[in-house]
Amino acid sequence: MPDVQALVNEFLNKLKKRKIEGSQATAKQTAELLRSVISQQRVPRTNQAGALIDAVRAIGEQLIVANPIELAVGNIVRRVLHIIREEDLSLTTAAVAELNLSTVSDDDDDGGGGDQDDRPVLSAAAVAAAARNTLRPPSLQMLLEGAPDFVAVPRSSSSGGDSEGKSKSMDRNSRTRKLKHDIIEAVNELIQDITTCHELIAEQAVEHIHQNEVILTLGSSKTVLEFLCAAKEKKRSFRVFVAEGAPRYQGHLLAKELVARGLQTTLITDSAVFAMISRVNMVIVGSHAVMANGGVIAPVGMNMVALAAQKHAVPFVVLAGSHKLCPLYPHNPEVLLNELRSPSELLDFGEFSDCLDFGSGDGSPLLHVVNPTFDYVPPKAVSLFITDTGGHNPSYMYRLIADYYSADDLVVQRRHAAGN
């Protein structure tokens, strides 16, 4: 699969050079890359899912190393791994169910080929639900009767494994193709989700923005733009304060877009955030990533905004597509999940060369310029997350994340972890 390797290398380069901006674009491209990896991957007769998982994980590791700050890459890798696992599980259970149903199901199989496509999807959902059941408390009846129902699932799957060995090679072939096919379908769906997530988020805008509201935002985010415009389209009139988000000045871009869409926009400097927040009804911002504890990695300056909002009891709402949900818990995120950009954004090269004496001194330069990219907003500063599945509390994020990732994939870099 040399062509896949070329694709991967190209993408790795882009990641390393930070050519891809924005978590959405990164997520989408990662998903597309993984899709092609899966489709090109040859799968062995047995344990196809395992082979796929290994392949995806190997590439995912490289991708994550290429840009460890862009958490969306890791998120998508984990999502794809999760998809593979779920599809495998659903296929297995479906096979078992077929076997259990004996000849009747065989007849059905012969009857309609179109049915086949639908059923696994349904069953995938069912099995996913069943898998999730393991996290849920047992039903009241189960508690009463003392008969653990969920034990049946592994048992049946193991028996399915047995039966799998006995089944015909034709069936196996179709199953291989079916697994890959299903996975690619699911990845396509994931890509679809990523591209449309801000529409889903924007649909909720009217529930949060009412007439005459004053909204503050910082930097630029497509999701925020769509969110505000969705409210505007619903004939809500409100005004927006945009903090410019130095040193990248993405706020200018957002202001321009908002003005073009006819929203009353006021552009302010970042330093005026505290002054203005007392007249703001709601802060709506985008994010770079949402951590499992409900903390947010966001464009630099966001912590300041969040603190100001907290001081004035202004709701601080974070919009995040599901691809931004990261299953990791942050440790010292201001430093470890941050990236220092070029100082030239703050000071021109050579601007201070005349007053810096490089010849003398103890080697440590007199002047440092710090230009971080991200800020960490602790969960207590966030009032609400709005994702494509609705609004959530910061404390609920871990649960939301559990829906999207399987616990086995949380650590992608196994070798690294072992090495460390």
């Binding site: 000045y249 007392s278 603190l307």
Partner: protein
């Protein structure tokens, strides 16, 4: 309460912080005729201030002072003027050496000012090199009451307090008056002291002073007698001779007529006050206090008033196109248009003095910025005006000059809204003018005002800054990481001074658009060899982890403890608060204001909105070029913000280091003082 408290055997040692010379004679409490709104009463009598709200300066100072005590007392408002002065005397012109680089664009201004301003103070206060012989008696008599108020403020240094206390110990009223006048000559009148009071034995009698007119000396004698009489009455009434000057009316003795009414009043008031424990005084004080409340500011959403103001205005302002709705109450004008217009008017404008015009243009162009620099520039312009001033026929100097200055002030306001520091400076100046005795000649009054201005600049700004630097650099320890925001001249002085002391610390300069004042500060620090980190305000959460202290300047400190300062200060203070880093505000006490403010919206200043849309040096950021005319887009360039008092750990002023809750105390107790100096 004062009588009660005064009669308690308060140990004298306790009276260090706010020394209250409760041995001060009551007679000084002369009720002046028309209460001047610009000369508010001292709300509390000094005797009630036995508790000090401010830190007593470290003992180092008083030892300094003791060493430098060739003169008996130095009840100057600045804690340790003497060491500085000595240094000045030695160092000569370059005395500013460790503290240069301040007052950013106007370094020249300051560089010029200190020699000029210091010359009078360099010589001993009170040795009366009087170019202006004030109408001694009137002036002193009326002011001798204020001495009581000036003393507590002034006597910050231990030694001088004690010596003052000793000097005051003699209980003979007459003697006391003499002493007070003696002190007064030194403190208040400094070089304008004229000739000594007849009864006091002033060691260095002025030689150069003009001979006072006989009429004046008569008046003086009368005043003295009167005060003695009043004092006697008071002593009799209160028994202990401890009755306190209740309503320290700043006697604006303007005419003989006034004086006569006053003469009638004075003993009466003294008795009544003594008898009823300053009930009457309270009342009048209440009244005055009410008058004292800051006048409401011009609201620019008030159509009629704006129109009225426009008709009078010299500066041609055009309203900004896209005004920010929330700030309709503030002037929102096109920037950059007025300058050319005004420049063209430069030669044809007769009512405006060229010095005023120049400073106004500098304000407009932004060449002078920073509260201190603007205040100094304004006061020096006024000095020139006063020097060139001649009273028109059939007008009195006081009224005419005050009116003139008011018109200049409104011109300044049109150029750029006044800062609080300027407001206080203007108030001081007007007060000085109002208090000029009518009887002295024009040239004398002019030179007296000019020297007052010099003294204000010197004591309230230059020396105050040095005291702040002394205090604040004590707080800088080895290994500290100091975070500063923007560019404050006093903070810069602190950093350079601490660096000069050899302290090992690092500075984080946080900057923000659109002015990027931090760059200039950074350059000056780096040139001096201070280790610096530079970043923008958004990254303040990132760098706050490293910081151990935050030093911030202030444009003004309001009496609810709110710090009114360059926009972004509140953000920095908030983040520091969140990270448990102490926030130290450095602000001269003359910038304190009795106004209160809760948010940054009600009163603020709007800068040039176009500065927001354009990012100099960044060609890639030009998103707004094509939409800048859209009605939907407003650019808001806020200049100041209000930092709530809860974020402030400490305010370093020339009176010491105080918590923000003590700001109203300083305003109340010392406001009188800076009207005095």
């Amino acid at each position: 309460m004062d009588a009660r408290r005064g009669s308690l055997p308060v140990p004298r040692v306790r009276q260090v912080g706010f020394f209250t010379p409760n041995a001060q004679p009551a007679p000084t409490r002369s009720q002046s005729g028309p209460p001047d709104s610009s000369s508010p009463p001292l709300p509390e009598s000094p005797a009630s201030n036995s508790l000090s709200p401010v830190m007593i300066p470290p003992p180092r100072h008083h030892s300094d002072n003791l060493a430098a005590a060739p003169r008996p007392t130095s009840p100057l408002p600045v804690p340790e003027p003497s060491p500085f002065r000595r240094r000045d005397a030695h160092a000569g012109a370059d005395n500013n050496a460790p503290l240069v680089g301040s007052y950013n664009p106007t370094e020249t201004l300051l560089a010029m000012s200190p020699p000029a301003t210091r010359s009078p103070s360099g010589s001993h206060a009170g040795d009366g090199e009087s170019e202006a012989a004030m109408s001694g008696g009137w002036f002193r008599r009326s002011n001798s009451a204020k001495l009581a108020s000036s003393l507590p403020s002034g006597t910050f240094d231990f030694s001088s307090v004690q010596s003052t206390a000793e000097a005051l110990k003699p209980t003979k009223v007459q003697n006391r008056v003499g002493v007070s006048e003696h002190l007064l000559n030194k403190t208040i009148l400094a070089e304008a002291s004229g000739r000594p009071a007849p009864k006091e034995q002033q060691p260095e009698a002025p030689s150069s002073s003009k001979q006072p007119k006989p009429k004046l000396s008569k008046a003086e004698r009368r005043a003295l007698q009167e005060s003695q009489r009043a004092a006697k009455a008071a002593t009799k009434a209160s028994g202990g001779g401890k009755s306190v000057a209740a309503s320290e009316e700043v006697a604006t003795v303007k005419s003989v007529k006034q004086h006569q009414t006053q003469k009638k009043d004075a003993p009466h008031v003294a008795v009544s006050v003594a008898a009823s424990e300053r009930k009457g005084g309270d009342k009048s004080q209440e009244k005055e206090r009410r008058k004292d409340a800051p006048a409401p500011r011009m609201q620019f959403d008030d159509k009629s008033r704006v129109d009225k103001a426009k008709r009078r205005s010299v500066v041609d302002q055009t309203e900004a196109r896209n005004r920010v709705e929330l700030f309709r109450h503030l002037p929102q004008y096109e920037h950059g248009t007025q300058l050319a217009d005004l420049e063209s008017k430069f030669l044809q404008l007769d009512p405006m003095h060229p010095a005023i015009y120049k400073v106004g243009l500098q304000y407009l162009a932004g060449d002078i910025s920073g509260g201190n620099a603007r205040c100094i520039a304004m006061l020096q312009a006024f000095q020139q005006v006063i020097q060139d001033y001649s009273t028109p026929p059939e007008k009195t100097l006081q009224r005419d000059l005050t009116a003139k200055i008011s018109s200049y002030v409104s011109f300044f306001t049109q150029c750029r809204p006044l800062s609080m520091s300027m407001g206080n400076g203007i108030r001081f100046l007007k007060n000085r003018i109002a208090k000029l005795a009518l009887s002295i000649s024009e040239s004398e009054s002019k030179s007296s005002i000019c020297s007052d201005i010099d003294r204000f600049i010197n004591e309230k700004i230059v020396l105050a800054d040095r005291v702040i630097v002394q205090h604040a650099s004590n707080k800088v320890k080895d290994g500290d990481v100091l975070l500063v925001y923007g560019s404050s001249c006093v903070v810069e002085m602190i950093l350079l001074h601490s660096h000069g002391l050899g302290k090992q610390f690092r500075v984080i300069v946080v900057d923000s658009r659109p002015k990027l004042e931090g760059k200039a500060l950074l350059r000056r620090l780096v040139v001096k060899g201070v280790h610096c980190t530079y970043t923008h305000i958004n990254a303040v959460s990132y760098v706050m982890h490293e910081a151990t202290k935050v030093f911030l300047g202030a444009s003004s400190v309001l009496s609810n403890g709110t710090v009114y300062s360059r926009v972004g200060t509140a953000c920095v203070a908030m983040v520091a608060h969140a990270f448990r880093v102490p926030v130290i505000i450095c602000c001269e006490a003359y910038k304190f204001h009795e106004r209160v403010q809760l948010d940054s919206i009600c009163s603020n200043e709007l800068g040039d909105p176009d500065a927001i849309g354009k990012v100099p040096g960044r060609m890639d950021v030009n998103y707004l070029d094509d939409v800048s005319n859209s009605v939907n887009l407003q650019l808001l360039n806020l200049m100041y913000d209000a930092t709530p008092a809860d974020y402030v750990s400490m305010i370093v002023t020339d009176y010491g280091m105080i918590p923000p809750t003590s700001v109203p105390v300083i305003v109340r107790e010392y406001r009188r003082d800076h009207l005095l100096i």
